[in-house]
């Protein structure tokens, strides 16, 4: 029925509007180069300030001191100092990604599914938008003021409760100190990303599971978490990459006492502390590979997860 009317409309329309169609396609062929002209600044910028500089480093990682192709720089990444810096970076990134995801998920579940007053939800979401941008120097200062040797919590615990955190082995300039600090932007990022996915969990799925005899625990075990799982996994890898590339907070917090990869690279760029420009490039390549893999995992999983939650 609708087919008939469509083709009828097309038939009558063709002769009458042929002139218009022609002139329109004329305009389009004329402007086609203009279209690319509009996109050109963007593409030129991307090539000159995103793609080529990165490739430059990637290529540089395979060029030796004598200017010839070599794998020596990659091999040299195996020195104990660099290996340990990658190891501490990976540990901090993993810990802050896992903790950030866990607590971010719990908070998101609480505000969306906990039947809290609706104002709380919008407050938390707004705060998350701000706090996820708090990474950097000021965040380090804030945590020094809180958990540093003279920080508020440290002092209160010592004077009021007689508990000295620093004597008990805690140090803000350590693995755990940095992890706790990173969670300050990791948790909000998790909340921002996972909230739409939790919204995508339809109320009817709970109800369908309930009529089929499932307890709330069984619903989450067999339905809720499996549906969120790809999103969770993807977001964890995004948070991992986010922490792995971050430097400002760590640098302001610990100076150079905690040798995470970006800080080693920072020192290398400033003063070639590794005494080998090629090795610096190889270090950069290592970072690119790790963050790129984590990001690609995120993107791939997210695209696959989207078809479920349509």
């Amino acid at each position: 029925m609708s087919n008939n009317t469509d083709s009828a409309a097309a038939n009558t329309a063709t002769p009458a509007s042929a002139g218009v169609v022609l002139s329109r396609s004329g305009v389009f062929t004329g402007v086609r180069w203009g279209d690319y002209l509009g996109v050109a600044p963007f593409l030129i910028f991307a090539v000159m300030f995103l793609v080529v500089p990165t490739l430059y480093l990637v290529v540089g990682a395979f060029i030796g001191r004598d200017g010839t192709f070599t794998f020596q720089n990659i091999v040299d990444l195996g020195t104990p100092q660099i290996v340990s810096s990658f190891w501490i970076s990976i540990r901090i990134s993993t810990a802050s990604a896992l903790l950030g995801s866990l607590f971010g998920l719990l908070i998101a579940l609480a505000i969306i599914r906990g039947r809290l007053p609706s104002a709380i939800r919008s407050t938390v979401m707004t705060f998350s938008g701000v706090a996820s941008n708090f990474a950097g120097i000021p965040l380090a200062f804030a945590f020094l003021s809180t958990l540093g040797r003279l920080g508020l919590i440290t002092v209160i615990l010592k004077t009021v409760f007689g508990f000295d955190m620093y004597k008990a082995g805690f140090n803000i300039l350590s693995f755990w100190g940095l992890t706790i600090t990173y969670c300050y932007f990791q948790i909000p990022l998790m909340i921002l990303i996972i909230a739409p996915a939790i919204d995508g969990l339809k109320k009817e799925w709970n109800e369908a599971a309930a009529t089929l005899g499932a307890t709330p625990y069984q619903f989450w075990r067999y339905v809720g978490l499996p549906i969120l799982w790809p999103n969770l996994l993807g977001t964890i890898s995004l948070l991992f990459a986010n922490a792995f590339g971050a430097i400002a907070t760590a640098y302001a917090l610990t100076g150079s006492s905690l040798n995470i990869v970006p800080i080693v690279l920072y020192a290398q760029i400033r003063g070639d502390v590794l005494n080998n420009p090629g090795l610096g490039a190889a270090l950069a390549l290592g970072m690119i590979v790790i963050t790129a893999v984590a990001n690609v995992i995120y993107l791939v999983i997210r695209t696959r997860a989207e078809r479920w939650l349509k």
Binding site: V31, G34, D35, Y36, G38, V39, P41, F42, F45, A46, F49, L50, V51, P53, T54, L57, G60, L106, I107, L109, A110, I111, R113, G114, R115, L116, P117, T126, F127, G129, G136, I137, P138, F141, A142, L144, S145, T146, L150, G151, L152, I153, I187, F244, I247, A248, Y251, A252, P262, L265, Y266, I269, G280, A284, M287, I288, T291, A292, N295, L299
Partner: protein, 263 residues
């Protein structure tokens, strides 16, 4: 059945403690420069320091330059991709993801290698050249946020009909962009701009490695040498971030909406 759940409140309170304690601690710490009493001395020390004023102005100027350059690059691209060259969309979207994938320290490392004094385009030779490089680096950092903001703005208006209407009235492409499209997406653009400002103003890594006298570098310096002033700086920059994000929230209420074409 409609009661709030106890576990939700517990998590919320724990979360609030974690997120609010550092803010409170920083505030109290910044006021404690004098023994036994609260005072604003740390703030006066910070604000009166010439270095604070100079670096803050510098970062503000770079931030504004970043927004202008960014818009000049992003708006035409987003407009043409939406209207005339949708086949370029995957490429453009991939490019806007790159700054999220490549850490800033890698970008600036690449710049230093590529645009040094012995290269074809020796931007790092002069202060002006380095400032330009810094601005372009920030454009790269802000690219994902700016593109998304502009693209969202374009999605809420009917770009195609507006363009065709202006075309029939005799406007050329530049006129359409400047006088028709831009005014309609100004709110979206502004929220992208404020986000950019929030990111750029305290940025440390790139500015430091390019040796620019930026606010982030200044803050790091103060942090290494003073005890209470860093807390005051942290409070100041939190306030700036809040203002910038608050502006975005506020702007969202004024977003114009013509009937969007569902495509």
């Amino acid at each position: 059945m409609k009661r709030s759940k106890l576990w939700a409140w517990i998590i919320l309170i724990l979360g609030a403690l974690y997120f609010l304690l550092p803010l409170v601690a920083t505030l109290l710490f910044s006021l404690s420069i004098r023994r036994g009493t609260y005072s604003l001395d740390a703030y006066t020390n910070v604000v009166q320091a010439p270095a604070f004023q100079q670096t803050f102005t510098f970062s503000l100027v770079v931030g504004v330059a970043t927004i202008v350059v960014g818009l000049l690059i992003v708006v035409p691209a987003a407009y043409f991709v939406r209207l005339r060259a949708p086949q370029l969309r995957p490429i453009i979207e991939f490019v806007t993801l790159l700054p999220l994938i490549i850490p800033p320290i890698i970008l600036v490392f690449g710049y230093i290698r590529m645009y040094n004094s012995s290269s074809l385009l020796p931007l790092t030779n002069t202060a002006l050249g380095t400032n330009i490089l810094l601005t372009l680096a920030y454009v790269a950092l802000a690219l994902p946020y700016m593109y998304r903001a502009v693209d969202t703005g374009l999605r809420t208006i009917d770009v195609q009909t507006l363009t065709e209407a202006a075309n029939i009235l005799g406007a050329n492409t530049l006129t359409i962009l400047v006088r028709v499209i831009f005014p309609n997406i100004i709110v979206a653009v502004l929220s992208g701009a404020f986000l950019t400002l929030a990111i750029v103003i305290g940025e440390f890594t790139i500015a430091s490695l390019l040796n620019r006298p930026a606010f982030g570098v200044y803050m790091q310096n103060v942090g290494a040498n003073r005890a209470f002033e860093p807390a005051a700086l942290a409070v100041i920059s939190f306030v700036i971030t809040w203002i910038a994000m608050g502006m975005i929230q506020l702007l969202a209420r004024f977003a114009p909406k013509t009937a969007p074409r569902t495509d």
